[in-house]
Symmetry: D2
Subunit: 184 residues, 4 copies
């Protein structure tokens, strides 16, 4: 099983990238997690889209299509989904009704320095994913608050309870994928 990880933050030492790296190490045998990149995705512009998807967009769509499932790790900016992540999804959602994410099993986690654990960003994200007809895992939830205390200086997730949560989420995503994949 191949999972594509997507990080909602561009910061090199991003906590959310740290969550994805932790997930790589905590995935069950037979499951691999690759991490996609959003830094080269241009701002969405329908005039550009009309000419053709820019290469980084086409590449992201293709990697999503190749993946069996997607795992998003996102910070919360201004009580919402980061523009960086939403902008990538705006490209991926197109053409309308034919998103690369359509019917794709997907799970969400998030980390932030504040006390509220990205709950609001994750809810907005679920909303846009429902529009794209994504099979978003309802639970469990991974809300990492006060992130500074849970990662070491190198950006590695060290908090044991959070590591267990990430491990549980990846396992639940694998089980969810098996459950919702149409029976042969």
């Amino acid at each position: 099983m191949r999972i594509l990880g997507i990080c909602g933050s561009l910061r090199r030492a991003s906590y959310n990238r740290g969550l994805l790296v932790a997930a790589q190490g905590l995935a069950p045998a037979g499951t691999t997690i690759e991490i996609g990149e959003l830094k080269d995705i241009p701002l969405f512009d329908q005039d550009v889209e009309a000419i053709g998807d820019p290469a980084p967009v086409a590449s992201l769509k293709e990697r999503i299509r190749q993946a069996d499932a997607v795992l998003i790790a996102t910070p919360e900016y201004d009580w919402g989904v980061p523009g960086v992540l939403k902008n990538a999804l705006d490209w991926v959602s197109r053409p309308a009704g034919q998103s690369a994410l359509k019917q794709k099993p997907l799970a969400i986690m998030g980390a932030s320095d504040g006390p509220w654990g990205t709950t609001r960003a994750q809810l907005q994200l679920r909303q846009s994913l429902t529009y794209m007809d994504v099979l978003t895992l309802p639970s469990p939830w991974v809300y990492v608050a006060l992130a500074k205390d849970k990662f070491d200086a190198s950006g590695a997730l060290t908090d044991e309870r959070t590591r267990e949560q990430v491990k549980g989420l990846v396992a639940a995503l694998v089980a969810w994928m098996e459950r919702v994949t149409p029976r042969a």
Copy 2:
């Protein structure tokens, strides 16, 4: 009174730009509306921010600071705020607690081709603006559904009822600004 208009879409013939252009013509005497640009705003990256705001970001912040009020016109992408607009706000919201939009009177309108009139994007937008302590006008609301029928081929807003709504919104924003500006 100077209002800064911000358009959530980059498309040249954007309906939302059309709403802002209509607002310029419908503003009361003594009120001018300039339209800001988001197309050069880079993706938000805290590592870049740590070095200093890129010029288009610094310019946008400055134009917001110079304005007496802000008028946002936004499409709805994937049941949410366009990433392009949210990304600009992510820059503008910083440093935390000191957004250029803090305590700024602001109104929202939106147009989309679909039947639901950007209601969901506007609600998400209000949510992020509350975080920034913006003085968002509670009502009236301008939800322009089925936009294709309301603009002409040149992108001009021709629907009379919508024109009245835009005029009413700008007038309400001017009154709101006078009301919430601290008394000397």
Copy 3:
């Protein structure tokens, strides 16, 4: 397959009850839809709950447990879920983590007299259902705007396009139930 219908409005001639009645007639062979009642559910009060669920609450929970899936039809009040419906869900969600709705396949539809089709109520509803770990069908969506034009004087759903949508939603819910039910 047995589906429990829940109507978010208490009005006798409720459009949303009309949607559920229509769904009864449009369900595929072998599927029955019963309609639950919320009118006797008292206001949620933890002091009352501590003594024991009132009979109408216990009955609603039991009917949900007996059902293979749930179909909610809801109006939108004040851009949100009707208090009547949310109050019932507040009882049903308890004890925390053991809701009668947990892991239950569920679909949502909604009708209102206004132009925006209950989109906002449905989104808030999805949010609370995710908390309860419900398996909410991502799509299709049934948003019935300007309901007065779509029902006859007796409250029967007469609009052909909406009837097709309701039929499609029930069929999708049946397929969803078969898909997410754990394989023997």
Copy 4:
């Protein structure tokens, strides 16, 4: 200045009632806070409304009209506004466009036992209040998480930092009322 406090929970020893009682003691000189009751408000039913507002509803509407401002304290149920509170607001919002809350200065606070501080309930509440054209104070925010640690056995708010926050919110509401009240 007279503020009407409204508590979103019916529990006798409700933390949110505790917040309102604390607010009474922390209000500036010249400001009084009364606490309204929701326990006798029946479930909203348009057929009942057509006959006339039940007495507890009429009374609540009148108390809101008499107040200079409103202060809501709410728990979060199922990631949303409690049905009890939303049901009361559904009555108060009517007739459409003529809510007793229209143009009323209002502030929100909330307490819950969980770690996320009612952030999601408060956002949903803001959404419905915007529909009613309420003048909701944008900030500061009072999110009381892990409430059990912040109240004593009698239900009194003892946490000093939270007491400061409540005091600050009431002071901000008074200033907001003076600011948005139309100038004579």
